[in-house]
């Protein structure tokens, strides 16, 4: 990162005489915060747990293998990825039309939609999740209403199962998708759509051949960010999921809180971190970060 900021001429005699640009110094507080509150604790956590491990390298590797290939871990891994995939698709399907609407909306309707998407973000995630529980519970609003109008006689199992996790997570992650897609779509030159129609393409053909391909980098960015956030998710599945919906993050929590097995927790955290970083690397490749935040 710093490499791209530093001038390529640094170190040349001319640059030595020129006054140094003090602007990068503005990053110091931010860097200090990241290092002290994120990097240092994380490194310490890994170092400490591996230092504490009793036995040689061979024993360590054996335990790592047995842990990472254990049934509970593999199941949690599969569940995590499956949930992340479904959530990503659901959020994409719901978010794409909303983002498109935002590119055409103006004035109060634009503000209203953006606000309804972003506003829940200003409330605590636990409050939001409990709100969903009020809605989806056995005697929640949805079930009570459906029963009152006679659609169902028994309450639908909307919570403490996979469906509840999917609903809760999709809701929480929707803004990431919508805002990412919106940023990408806003950059699409609408004269291209007009050109396609003027040259004889139907609305659907224009979408398939012109609009969607031009929005594709936004779709990829949005999908990756939602997926990345999904695989590390903890609170929503813990509160709204059933006993079979154990995600990796919950497993890590259990190792720390219940089993007090720090090396196992560290190993699982590390595996999750590696996957996340790999996905982030892809995300970085497909996303022009500067375009995403609207910079030129």
């Amino acid at each position: 990162m710093t490499g791209s900021i530093a001038s390529p001429w640094t170190g040349s005699p001319a640059a030595a005489k020129a006054p140094r640009d003090p602007t990068p110094l503005l990053l110091l507080p931010g860097i200090a915060m990241l290092v002290l509150m994120f990097l240092v604790p994380m490194v310490l956590f890994f170092v400490r747990t591996f230092m504490e491990f009793q036995g040689g390298t061979a024993a360590f590797l054996a335990q790592a293998r047995s842990l990472l290939f254990s049934q509970p871990y593999l199941t949690a891994l599969a569940t995590t990825n499956w949930i992340a995939l479904i959530v990503t698709l659901a959020v994409l399907l719901v978010g794409y039309p909303i983002a498109y609407y935002l590119t055409t909306a103006t004035g109060p309707s634009f503000s209203l939609v953006v606000l309804s998407i972003v506003l829940p973000y200003f409330t605590s995630i636990i409050v939001r999740t409990f709100s969903w529980m009020v809605l989806l519970g056995e005697h929640g609003l949805v079930n009570d209403t459906l029963r009152a109008i006679g659609v169902i006689s028994e309450p639908l199992p909307l919570m403490y199962n996979r469906l509840g996790v999917l609903i809760g997570m999709s809701y929480v992650l929707l803004p990431y998708m919508v805002l990412t897609l919106y940023a990408a779509m806003r950059g699409i030159d609408t004269s291209l759509v007009r050109a396609a129609e003027g040259l004889g393409a139907s609305g659907f053909y224009t979408f398939r051949r012109v609009y969607f391909p031009l929005s594709l980098h936004g779709v990829l960015s949005g999908a990756l960010i939602v997926y990345i956030l999904s695989i590390g998710y903890f609170i929503t599945p813990a509160l709204m999921g059933g006993q079979h919906d154990i995600m990796v993050a919950m497993l890590i929590d259990r190792e720390l809180e219940v089993a007090v097995d720090w090396p196992s927790a560290a190993l699982m955290s590390l595996s999750l971190l590696v996957v996340t970083l790999a996905l982030y690397a892809i995300y970085y490749r497909v996303t022009d970060v500067r375009r995403l935040i609207g910079a030129r």
Partner: protein, 392 residues
């Protein structure tokens, strides 16, 4: 430039257009456009105000006007992207009101090209064919025909961002004509190109249009561009058509001072219209001096009028006096300024009681610039003069 333009105009004057309409077999004469009282209002203001036009099949027709004159809005209504508030667009006699843009079958070249950035040159040009569900073989054949036509034969596999501005322009042109539309709409297609390239592309577009015999409706604010390419030009001003005619006619015989000025440098000498003399009209200047023009450009006696003469039609000779000639208008003045424009010398000449008169002299072999302050006599044929209504 001007000579070439009027030549072109002479060859393809309205007579030529009428001939085309009369002689061409009925089946081949596709691509006639008619605008009937076409109107567009934004709020109270009519940006396009009851425009009526008839464009013949195979005609190169330009809408020329300054920005805000309604030319692009008119084109967008023809294309179907803007709904008219009144009037109709007819293609070969059929009202297009209920036909959406994608069904109108026009070829279109857009301002700034509107090239699809994610498609190759080949796929850009193939786009209208694929949208019409052509088979792959036919698509390949037709695209390579279009690539050759715009001299981009080797560029099919290229990515469009690897192309220069002129090449992108050619891709846009090829894409517009690849499906052999009878009518092609062009919205300032050369606006983004530099001057030399623009001239080159004008020639190319004109050649392709003539070879394919298609109707072109061309929007531009550049009068040279309009004159060098068009069979006829409509000059738009504040949503209305001020004049329609072949380039030579609108340049030489503008309907009003606005058209005169818009098409190039113009002298508009203001005075009072005096009673007719013999076979002409007289204009009395504030100095009492008289200028004459052929009748036909008759205006009410005693009203204000403007005598119109192009700077290149005025002769300039050094000296305070010259022999009079009934066939010539004559004014004495002093040189205020001489600008060197390369191929021409442009003089500004002060004449008593008038705005400076502009005179263009070819920068030919024997021409030596006259010094500032020199006394000169300006002369031009009565037959070339035209009396226009004074501007309110």
């Amino acid at each position: 430039m001007v000579e070439v333009d009027s030549d072109l105009a002479a060859r393809r004057a309205p007579a030529a257009v009428d001939e085309l309409a009369l002689l061409a077999p009925v089946a081949a004469a596709r691509g006639a456009i008619e605008l009937r009282g076409l109107t567009k209002r934004y709020g109270e203001e009519a940006v396009v105000d009851a425009i009526a036009l008839s464009i013949a099949p195979g005609e190169f027709f330009s809408l020329l006007g300054p920005s805000g004159s309604g030319k692009t809005t008119t084109l967008m209504m023809v294309a179907g992207f803007v709904q008219p508030d009144g009037g109709a667009v007819l293609l070969d006699g059929e009202d297009l009101a209920a036909v959406p843009p994608q069904k109108r079958g026009f070829g279109m070249v857009f301002q700034n090209y509107a090239i699809f950035p994610h498609l190759s040159v080949f796929e850009n040009i193939a786009f209208p064919l694929r949208a019409r569900r052509w088979a792959n073989g036919a698509v390949a054949e037709r695209v390579s025909w279009a690539l050759d036509l715009v001299r981009l034969g080797r560029f099919g596999d290229r990515h469009t961002h690897q192309l220069s501005g002129g090449q992108q322009q050619r891709v846009a042109l090829a894409r517009a004509i690849v499906f052999h539309p009878p009518v092609v709409l062009m919205d300032e297609p050369l606006g983004a190109l530099d001057k030399n390239l623009r001239f080159e592309m004008q020639v190319e577009i004109k050649e392709i249009q003539q070879r394919l015999g298609m109707t072109v409706l061309y929007v531009t604010h550049d009068q040279e561009e309009a004159m060098s390419m068009s069979d006829r030009i409509a000059i738009l001003n504040r949503g209305r058509i001020d004049q329609v005619g072949p380039p030579g006619e609108v340049y030489e015989r503008p309907a009003n001072p606005f058209v005169g000025r818009f098409l190039g440098e113009a002298n508009l000498i203001e005075g009072t219209i005096a009673p007719q003399f013999g076979d002409g009209t007289r204009l009395v200047l504030p100095s009492g001096h008289e200028l004459r023009a052929p009748s036909g450009s008759r205006r009410s006696d005693g009203g204000r009028g403007m005598l119109f003469i192009r700077p290149e039609r005025v002769e300039i000779t050094a000296g305070a006096n010259a022999a009079g000639d009934v066939r010539q208008n004559m004014l004495a003045g002093t040189i205020r300024r001489c600008s060197f424009l390369g191929n021409i010398l442009r003089y500004a000449v002060d004449v008593d009681g008038l705005a400076p008169i502009t005179v263009d002299i070819q920068n030919a072999v024997r021409v030596a610039p006259l010094p500032v302050g020199a006394l000169v006599v300006l002369r031009w044929p009565v037959a070339e003069s035209l009396i226009l209504p004074a501007e309110p």
